[in-house]
């Protein structure tokens, strides 16, 4: 009987305490922010301690599969993201690219308030991020990624081969050594947004070379080149 009374008394206390707590205002933590392309003297891909630690680490795709847990809630177990939600597909991406982007988000060089909490050092270490990047590299890129309307592919091809292929590769294969991403098999919606944001300097960790190239692009040009990229494929034919 005594125990029941204690239970009830404590239950009531807990309930009241919790209720009063709800009434107080929320205190939002600000996402991290570091210098980006908008800052004078911005240098792309400056050496970063966290990134270098991850790059030097002997990563394991097997361990990465476990650590990927925290990512798969959005990017899906197969790493292919979600086209309509603008979650990029990550399967087959160069580990250096995946790592750089994760570290940029973590450090506030690339703004991504949606993802920032999931890539912080409170939830994943630099080594775990390296393992995750290795795991993603080992996954096959999807053939059924989101595509554009297909109406301006000739224009898209022309722009891509003139302006993009020298870095991102004729087939969209990128270059891991230079941190240039694979763009093949990527979702159209994501490519469209990121290309536009790079042009408009909203993607703050963009390469100034790319921003320069995109400067004269109209929205239609951005859409055309994004559609063309979404149709590039690294899948074995």
């Amino acid at each position: 009987m005594k125990r029941t009374l204690i239970t009830l008394a404590l239950a009531a206390t807990g309930f009241v305490a919790a209720q009063s707590v709800y009434a107080q205002a929320a205190s939002s933590e600000k996402p991290p922010r570091a210098k980006g392309i908008e800052s004078p003297g911005y240098v792309w891909n400056t050496p970063d301690k966290d990134l270098n630690r991850a790059l030097d680490y002997k990563a394991s795709a097997k361990r990465g599969k476990v650590a990927y847990k925290i990512c798969k809630g959005c990017h899906l177990p197969d790493g292919t993201g979600q086209a309509d939600a603008l979650y990029p597909q990550l399967a087959g991406q160069h580990p250096s690219v995946t790592l750089k982007q994760m570290m940029d988000i973590r450090a506030g060089r690339r703004d991504n308030p949606k993802m920032a909490p999931f890539v912080g050092d409170w939830i994943v270490s630099a080594e775990e991020l390296a393992d995750i990047a290795a795991h993603l590299k080992s996954l096959p890129p999807p053939a059924n990624n989101g595509k554009g309307d297909g109406k301006s592919l000739a224009k898209g091809k022309e722009l891509y081969e003139k302006d993009c292929a020298s870095c991102h590769g004729k087939n969209g294969e990128g270059d891991g050594k230079k941190f240039y991403p694979v763009v093949a098999n990527q979702h159209y919606g994501y490519l469209l947004r990121e290309t536009r944001e790079s042009r408009d300097q909203g993607r703050r960790n963009a390469s100034p070379d790319m921003v320069k190239v995109l400067k004269g692009y109209s929205d239609a040009d951005v859409a055309a080149v994004s559609d063309y990229m979404s149709r590039l494929s690294l899948a074995k034919k």
Binding site: R3, I6, T7, L10, A11, T13, G14, F15, A17, A18, V21, Y22, Q24, A25, A26, S27, S28, E29, K69, I70, C71, K72, G73, C74, Q82, D84, A85, Y87, K114, P117, F118, G120, W122, I123
Partner: protein, 201 residues
């Protein structure tokens, strides 16, 4: 629980030596759990009070982290902080091991109509509002793992309270991921997920 069962747990703990240091000794926490915790959390950690969490079968790593955070004040609670203040780190480890080793009883669903919505959210999230799936960290069966707590069979009231505390920035530990998620959920979504978690075994 018989002494034979304790012996088995002790033997198991010995076999898992790297874990043992972290996991503590369940058998050493019996009287402490009975005297201090049982009135709210139940003899075996299957709390019958809706707004107190079930601890039976909970992840040991998670339990220990929470207990330590109560002790350090990192996780706020008018009830828990004073209760664990006088306990040693060894007591906390033993308690975590004790509750982790208990069998979780089935949860109580209070609004079955919400289960389909809750299940969809738990397994698929809500891409429109940026809610990741719950199963990615808490597993499809709600068993959790390591620092990610078991949610299967959890009391609906407790789960709802935690969602609210997270969203309001008032759950003061382990917050950054769950705060982000809770902020993006509607109250109805938190209810649906809480019901679905209670339904899992």
């Amino acid at each position: 629980m018989t002494s034979l069962q304790f012996g088995r747990i002790a033997a198991l703990a010995f076999l898992m030596t790297p874990m043992a240091a972290l996991a503590g000794d369940a058998s050493k926490a019996i009287s402490l759990a009975g005297n201090l915790c049982a009135s709210c959390h139940g003899e075996d950690g299957n709390s019958l009070v809706p707004n107190f969490p079930k601890l039976a079968g909970q992840q040991a790593v998670y339990l220990l982290r929470e207990l330590k955070d109560y002790k350090s004040g990192k996780r706020e609670s008018e009830v828990m902080v004073p209760l664990v203040a006088s306990l040693s780190d060894e007591d906390l480890a033993n308690l975590a091991a004790f509750y982790a080793s208990q069998k979780a009883a089935p949860g109580t669903v209070t609004d079955p109509a919400l289960l389909p919505v809750g299940k969809a959210l738990y397994l698929k999230g809500n891409a429109k509002s940026g809610i990741p799936t719950c199963e990615s960290c808490h597993e499809e069966d709600g068993s959790g793992g390591g620092k990610f707590p078991r949610v299967a069979g959890q009391n609906v009231e407790y789960a709802l309270e935690q969602f609210k505390l997270y969203a309001a920035g008032k759950r003061t530990n382990g917050t950054r991921v769950m705060k982000t998620i809770a902020e993006r959920m509607t109250e109805q979504e938190t209810r649906a997920v809480a019901e679905y978690m209670a339904s899992m075994r």
